[in-house]
Amino acid sequence: MARTRLLQAINDAIVEEMERDQKVVVYGEDVELSIVGDLRGVYAKFGRDRIRNTPICETTLTGMAVGLAAAGYRPVVQMMFANFLYTGMDSIANQMAKLRLMTGGQISLPITIIATIGGGSSNAAQHSDTNYPALMNLGGLHVAVPATPADAKGLVKSAIRNPNPCFVLEPNGRGGESGDVPDGEYLVPLGKAAVRREGDAVTVVAIGRMLKPALAAAAGLAAEGIGAEVIDPRTLVPLDYDTILGSVAKTGRLVVVDEAREACSAASQIAAVVAERGFGSLKGPIRRLCTPNVAMPYAPNAEAHVIPNEARIAAAVRELAVGARVTA
């Protein structure tokens, strides 16, 4: 165990995988000096045949990953902000997500794409999207959203070893956050959620950057005698529905916290599946806390106004829990 910053954990994971497998090649805009910070020092260590700066041309960066993977490599593409995925969306949606089926399973594409998501840093609308819903809807892509340094390391390593395209979306602005990371080889499997806190009254599923306020809310609610069980799905494709359904079977109540915009969000997806497969155990409505269907504003107070926070999470859980008491 060592206290590590999330960016450093990603860096450690990439370095370990580059040492482990010569076929792992990293590229992107400004990766050599690492403007994002998660690749600092990698260039000095491995040189330009393993990591290189590219021109600004996202359309080609995502497309090249397909060809490089087809040629037997394991590209790791650093795309900076997830908004820039739109610029490279054609190869993501029309190639990465589809080529394997279109070729009758001839091809496998061990591609890892890293980008930062989310608001909260006054980066404004074009640098703040939480856009995993679009990726989830494409099929054929894995999506990981680490919320802790340990998961960041374990999920990046699993993504790089996975034979399919995997997106690892770092929570924006968390580079500075530290957490314990197990020493040595540490893998977190894709598709396994983590129960971050146990509770019996309400299940709270909190995605990525929303985990922290959810845990804070749960701690506060405990003092009120309300037991919130907090689940971090860790990956959205594959999504560990069993853990969520199991928890709802116990609590009968569900709140999903998702920084993505509300329409067709991951929260909507989780709510829909529980309303389908877990309906029998539901004792009350499913509450979703998301960013409304807006472009992220620049002003800090406006950002705070639209992004789910501890107070709103606590209020939603409390509201459902009251129902819980009554029926109890």
């Binding site: 090649v25 045949d49 590219t54 021109p55 041309c57 359309t59 080609t60 960066l61 995502t62 497309g63 090249m64 990953a65 397909v66 060809g67 490089l68 993977a69 087809a70 040629a71 037997g72 490599y73 590209p75 054609d90 190869s91 029309n94 190639q95 080529l99 394997r100 089926l101 279109m102 070729t103 009758g104 399973g105 001839q106 091809i107 496998s108 594409l109 099929g139 054929g140 070893r161 996975n162 034979p163 399919n164």
Partner: protein
Amino acid sequence: MAMTGAGERQSGSHPGAGPSPDEAVRLYETMLLIRRTEERLRDDAAAGKLPGAVHLYLGEEAVAAGVCAHLTDRDYITSTHRGHGHFLAKGGDVKTMMAEIWAKREGICRGMGGSMHVADVSKGILGANGIVGAGLSIAAGAAFGAKLDGRGRAAACFFGDGASNQGALMETLNIASLWQLPVIFVCENNGFSEFTPAAQVTSGRIADRALAFGVPAAEVDGNDVTDVWRAAGEAVARARAGGGPSFIEARTYRIQGHFEAESFVLGGGSYRDDHEIDKWREADPVSRFRSVLLESGTLDEAALGRIESAVAARVAEAAAFAAAGQPADPALAETLMFAPEEG
């Protein structure tokens, strides 16, 4: 005269040694195989036997044949929506390709891809592609891998004049030039994007786009397989030798419509006149090369006849194989999406 990246564009018939007699025969066989296969698919489409859209390569055979003659299974190609010719020229199997287009279980993509996605990864055929321009960056990526391998492999990217207006072309020219990637850009300029004439949507000379990035470029007669073969030979040699990318613009023409449902879709509208088509029929690459083989004494009528009936038999056999195939396995749509985790 070598291609040049020094701002000078090379046009017209391409100098240098021509194909050997054996190579010439193979070129003819390849073109003829494409010709007969496409004719058969044209007829099968007209008879309503093919479920999806088919874009035929009739009239453009010399480009795929002339380029792929220089490539082995270890090299890569990316192709287009009009990809049957590239698939066959690169050594793809005509039986499983036809079965694929027939949506059969025996198809090279098990019926999951169809005409616009025929691929044989084991032969470096990274696939026909339904997204115009998408093959450019895929080829650049494969060439990047080949460059890192350092084993002299190359990647050829086929794309149309219409595709050359996608920004992806310039992005990949830039990266290929900077990284000296072993990639050959092959622009099949058949004068149209769907029903739109090139003059309406393509400004300047396409080869100049390559020169602006320092990529050597040549314009060749795409209906003269020897001319294509020479330019491609030079480009592939440069790629293998670490000399970086090359650009070839092959002037050709598509004899069929944009796709086989064209006349239905056009509903009476027209975008080219029959004289133009007739003019190009006279420049037919297959019969032109046939005459060359005869006149050069490489083959006589008897030998040509043997080749032609052999090819006809292969195509008939492939069509029978496709027709007799089993329906695709529907479950594959779900089971094939993700590759199983290794180890």
